[in-house]
Symmetry: C2
Subunit: 217 residues, 2 copies
């Protein structure tokens, strides 16, 4: 083990790697994975197409890194809400709504994060490294929150947090995908779309939480 954890050459390499990722990010955000071509990317940063392959073994690997970074962003935002000490019901709704908002902000990223065949090969939570992945961590935040709800009696006692978390995730995923693919969803008519969307996101989150709520009395 050498002392220097980063040689000058290594730092320079990381810098270029980052520059490639940054250029890719901006194209990807605008046009998605299909719009991001290695040749165009190479031209943008004044390299030959083949040069990219000295830094990434394939386009998929490059895109995977963009997706992972994006899910890190989702996780950060959700954590910010989840760790607050506001009342449970409010906190739960805010978490769900936040997930959608971040997803809606980068629709191409969100859609791509779930469209990749690499993800589709195995079960979600038995995938190697799922627990450690950003997606897995986001799932855990959700499950813990539901467990809290069950323990405090806010949610029905018979609810299995793991199972419910998957159901809730699916529901939020659905809205996120709808917005990603149909940018104006769910606005009835164009015009003040963001207000209508905000209201809808909150309605949707509310519906999902209601589905789990206990009704004493």
């Amino acid at each position: 083990m050498t002392v220097a954890t980063s040689s000058p050459a290594e730092r320079r390499r990381n810098k270029i790697r980052a520059r490639i990722l940054s250029a890719a990010e901006s194209v990807f955000a605008r046009e998605g994975a299909e719009g991001l071509s290695i040749r165009r990317l190479a031209e943008n940063i004044d390299y030959s197409p083949a040069a990219i392959y000295k830094y990434f073994s394939s386009k998929d690997e490059l895109v995977d890194e963009l997706k992972e970074t994006f899910f890190e962003l989702i996780l950060e935002n959700v954590h910010l809400i989840a760790d607050r000490s506001t009342p449970f019901a409010e906190r739960a709704r805010a978490c769900l709504a936040t997930y959608i908002r971040v997803a809606a902000d980068k629709p191409h990223h969100y859609a791509a994060a779930f469209a990749g065949e690499s993800v589709a090969t195995g079960p979600v939570d038995t995938e190697p490294g799922f627990e450690e992945s950003k997606k897995g961590q986001a799932f855990n935040v959700l499950r813990n929150m539901i467990a809290e709800g069950v323990e405090t009696g806010a949610f029905r006692a018979e609810i299995d947090p793991s199972l419910a978390a998957k159901s809730v995730w699916a529901s939020m995923h659905g809205l996120a995908m709808m917005i990603a693919h149909i940018p104006s969803y769910p606005a009835l008519k164009p015009g003040q779309p963001s207000m209508a969307r905000e209201a809808f996101i909150e309605f949707h989150a509310d519906q999902v939480i209601r589905g789990m709520e206990a009704h004493h009395g």
Copy 2:
């Protein structure tokens, strides 16, 4: 207006068109839109690639037709349940579950039906021809069912059927997409995945309905 609504030539043409679609269908079901290449398709049916373009103006148009036919299948299945005279709650849950089941049966079709950029250009329900499209009709079935629930007092009075239909659709869409992209979702571990999935689909549908239910008491 001529009497003959289909000349021999025309019938022959439709036959070949159908043969192309049929060959495309089987490849598409197995490998999705990316796996379906015009050249491979042409080879399968012993035509030159260019010949396909005498019947379809583009690959997108061909795929669009596959998608529309698929959504017709969904609609048929859902209608079969929706038109039954079983108790409302049971009927509603069965409709939602059916939507998922048909989608899960042809994951590539379902994913593609929502992935196309052509869909993503406008609002869902202000798209020209949305009301007439199979997707639009499925949406109407859902909205009418929710309206029925509100009228009979099963669902909360303040619920707007149009809005709620979008929320419910998003929830079901989410699960359908999860299953489409992650074939083993939501099984925790491989083994008896279809039973686990059946149970989960019903749990999910139940959660979604519960979100709208009124609690008199």
